[in-house]
Amino acid sequence: MRARLSILRSRLHSVGRWAAPPAFAVLLLLAAGTRAGAGPVADSSSHGHRWWLPAASTAVAGRIDSLFILILWITSAFLVLVVALFVAFVIRYRHREGRRAAHVTGNMLLEIVWMAVPAACLIAIAYASNGAWSAMKEEFPRESESLVIIVKPRQFQWDVVYAGADGRFETADDITAINRLDVPAGRNVIVKLMAQDVIHSFFVPQFRMKQDAVPGMTTEMWFNVPAPGTFEIACAELCGLGHYRMQGRLIVHAPAEYDAWYAGRLREKAAESANAR
């Protein structure tokens, strides 16, 4: 009776133990499947699934998402395999009177298999990753054909600089803004980051991109947003006590709208410098 009870107890325990991780896997899947919608939020471009990836707003973001999903499938397959074997072994090979464990010390073939199969998966992931990485970081669009903007983050704001009428930076007609980045849709935008004090990181979740801004050097990122929308810029690298509120807005205009906005800023700037004179 006692032995029975203890078997029952151990079985219950094993059930509880293996039930937890699958339960969380299910939770993950539920989260993945939940399309709770954006709710009463006016701007649809900044909201995707409720407890899942924010809506991908650039082609590169879509690429990163498919990589993410690929890795999620591969790792889930391994997790399911491990959990399944674990559960099977823990139930099947729990202690019973009169039975003896097998004196098995190893198996070369098995060990080679469980090195080779993960290795193959990892090589596949690395290969797939490398393409997207090159597209993000190495195959930059040409500056002559892109809109170049300099962002100079500092504690705790984003100083934004556009080349003015002369098309060059660090001249008197530079257009500046704080915490607000206006860009045209459908055009390659290169952001050059030059931190003024400590390290900050330019993060737009819908672009799946973040790039640290390091004082003393210039770092770059590029994006091309096909459709107009408004996005939040977050600082993703701890930069001091105001880190959490170092927030900016990125406004993607339709091309004509952007041109009008830019022309307006040029006029303002010209008027300003005329006044100063």
Binding site: H13, A20, L27, L28, A31, G39, W51, W52, L53, I64, L67, F68, I71, T75, F78, V82, L85, F86, F89, V90, Y93, R94, H95, R100, A101, A102, H103, T105, G106, N107, E111, W114, P118, L122, I125, A126, S129, N130, A132, W133, M136, R154, Q155, Q196, D197, V198, I199, S201, P205, R208, K210, P215, G216, M217, A236, L238, G240, L241, H243, Y244
Partner: protein
């Protein structure tokens, strides 16, 4: 008058002995000292985590318990945690946990107690180094606590202390606090280096006759590899924080480039010419191996516990050893995966991605080896085994989630989000800490002569396991939603507002997890007092420590044992018992057993 004189005389004779007991060179005493220190910091660090969680789960609402005495005045107006207090809390949470809880446990308490017993040595190689190692670590810990009470509060730059934030005192509210943080780590670093040297030399020189390297249990192998990693990694951080301190106090510019400004005006007093990325390279060149320092001993302990409780030899003993070395070796080549988005050359990112992917292979060897150890076993679910089994699964989750960060493009999104926070806690809590719990339950009878209470122990286990998963699994969901780490108030961002219920849920789980740990302490104290008396070998294990009485007492291995076999002779077909101690010469008088 004469009475006083007599008192002084007695004091004079007693004091040195008392001092010798406090500043003990006895490895068991040192182990207990390290253990107490580690548990203290575990709770201190846990408490800080709960404050951090409170602010994230219920942003801007007052903490429901009085805690102002824990910090300087301005940090919690009206009981609400202020932003700089928050930054100090997560900084010291990680600092306490990594440097003063897990490292002293795995490089101090565990090897000092277990190591000599498992290799049949009456002592460690360098008793004085062992003693110094503890007292330096404790001094470091006290200095770290002191940072809470200096003007400006504790360091608030994260446990990674990125420059120039940490290199120039104008950039944070804390000045003396960050300096003390640096001093404390340097002192702890020296302490741990001494301990590690002691540990490595003991394994190499003090093994019992017959105990060849390939007859060592995995626990000892992992102590060896961990010791080597500490010896190579800690000098790097000690040197790096030295440079950081010079930047802060002497005006050097190791990590400070020219042309910096402070709230709009130029920063004075620095020549410039330094490189902020140099700090990151130095820090992670230490910081990544330290992750393996924190997980390898746990892997060793779990390997042994699984074998003992499955009554089976560890599957692929040699593969397990080689994978330990492979992880430790590759661990030196992966630090750049913390820096994919740092402005480091993207080509370097690709190489670090490759090396990081490679390290998953030996980790896989371990996971599958552990599973295969269970296969065809006779599994008993003792308390140590429960934690070891939980380790197996949680470490698997933590290892697999690491692959997301290894992929450079995916990392561009999830880097510095809660996905990382979830990952690191699966590895360090579900990994290191579960292994530490397994080790406590496993060696408690040997150390104290009493069994650790099963009933309370199981309650602690199940509560911990459930609350652990409820706390850290949803963090992956936060990260997938883009939730940055180290932010004081997530509700500032529209894209994070939908995730706030997850944050609240995590906070409630974390509080449960924290309180569940009190059960462990209660269990330890109750078992010390009333626990069932332990036999010499309650788990019927084959390694040397179980041939001694529980506790071993002063005369441990006064008679040097002779070792005749490897530590995994479980369930030999021709033996009567289902295990053979390493000291036994014959299997029922019919020749020797297998040797790996």
């Amino acid at each position: 008058m004469s009475n006083q004189g007599a008192g002084a005389l007695i004091d004079a004779t007693v004091r040195p002995r008392r001092l010798a007991r406090i500043f003990s060179r006895d490895h068991t005493v040192i182990a207990k000292q390290f253990f107490a220190m580690s548990i203290f910091f575990l709770f201190a660090g846990g408490l800080l985590a709960l404050f951090v969680r409170w602010q994230l789960g219920f942003p801007g609402s007052a903490v429901p318990v009085p805690f102002n005495f824990l910090m300087t005045r301005t940090m919690a107006p009206g009981g609400v945690i202020a932003p700089d207090a928050f930054n100090g809390m997560f900084t010291l949470h990680a600092t306490f946990m990594v440097y003063f809880a897990v490292l002293p446990m795995l490089v101090g308490a565990l090897p000092n107690f277990v190591l000599p017993l498992q290799i049949g040595s009456p002592r460690m190689a360098f008793p004085t180094l062992g003693m110094l190692s503890f007292w330096l670590s404790l001094l470091g810990g006290l200095l770290m606590i002191a940072t809470y009470f200096v003007d400006g509060g504790p360091a608030s730059t994260g446990w990674t202390a990125y420059a120039p934030l940490a290199a120039v005192s104008h950039y944070t509210g804390s000045s003396a606090g960050q300096n003390l943080w640096i001093l404390s780590l340097a002192i702890l670093g020296i302490g741990l280096i001494l301990g590690a040297a002691n540990q490595v030399v003991t394994i190499v020189n003090h093994r019992a006759p017959g105990l060849t390297m390939f007859r060592l249990p995995l626990t000892v192998w992992s102590f060896l590899v961990t010791g080597l990693l500490v010896l190579l990694a800690l000098p790097v951080i000690t040197a790096a924080v030295g440079m950081l301190l010079m930047d802060r106090t002497l005006g050097t510019s190791f990590f400070v480039p020219a042309g910096l400004s402070v709230s709009g005006s130029p920063l004075a007093g620095y020549a410039g010419g330094g490189q902020p990325l140099l700090w990151q390279h130095l820090f992670w060149f230490f910081g990544h191996p330290v992750v393996y320092i924190m997980i390898l001993p746990g892997m060793g302990v779990v390997s042994d516990v699984l074998a003992v409780f499955a009554r089976k030899p560890l599957f692929g003993y040699r593969a397990m050893i080689y994978s330990t070395f492979a992880i430790a070796g590759l661990g030196w080549l992966v630090w750049g995966h913390h820096m994919f988005q740092s402005g480091m050359n993207p080509l370097l990112g690709t190489t670090f991605m490759a090396s990081t992917m490679a390290i998953a292979i030996p980790s896989g060897v371990k996971v599958f080896g552990w599973l295969a150890t269970l296969w065809r076993g006779q599994i008993r679910f003792g308390l140590p085994m429960l934690f070891a089994l939980a380790f197996l699964l949680t470490f698997t989750v933590g290892g697999l989630s690491g692959i997301f960060m290894a992929s450079t493009p995916v990392d561009a999104f999830i880097h510095d989000t809660y996905f990382i926070v979830g990952h690191i806690h699966y590895v360090l809590f579900g990994g290191s800490l579960f292994a530490i719990f397994a080790a406590i339950a496993y060696w408690f009878p040997k150390a104290t002569g009493r069994m650790l209470g099963e009933r309370l122990g199981r309650l602690h286990f199940w509560l911990t396991l459930a609350a652990f998963n409820c706390t850290f699994f949803p963090m992956h969901i936060l990260g997938i939603g883009g939730h940055m780490r180290r932010i004081y108030d997530p509700t500032v961002y529209a894209f994070l507002r939908d995730l706030q219920p997850v944050n609240t849920f995590i906070t409630i789980s974390a509080i449960t997890l924290g309180f569940a740990q009190l059960l462990l302490v209660a269990n330890i104290f109750l078992s010390l007092k009333n626990g069932r008396r332990a036999e010499p070998n309650p788990w019927r294990a084959a390694t040397l420590e179980w041939t001694l009485p529980s506790p071993p007492g002063d005369g441990a291995f006064a008679v040097v044992p002779e070792v005749h076999r490897w530590p995994y002779d479980y369930s030999l077909p021709n033996a009567i018992e289902d295990y053979l101690p390493q000291t036994s010469l014959h299997v029922n008088g019919t020749g020797t057993g297998t040797d790996s």
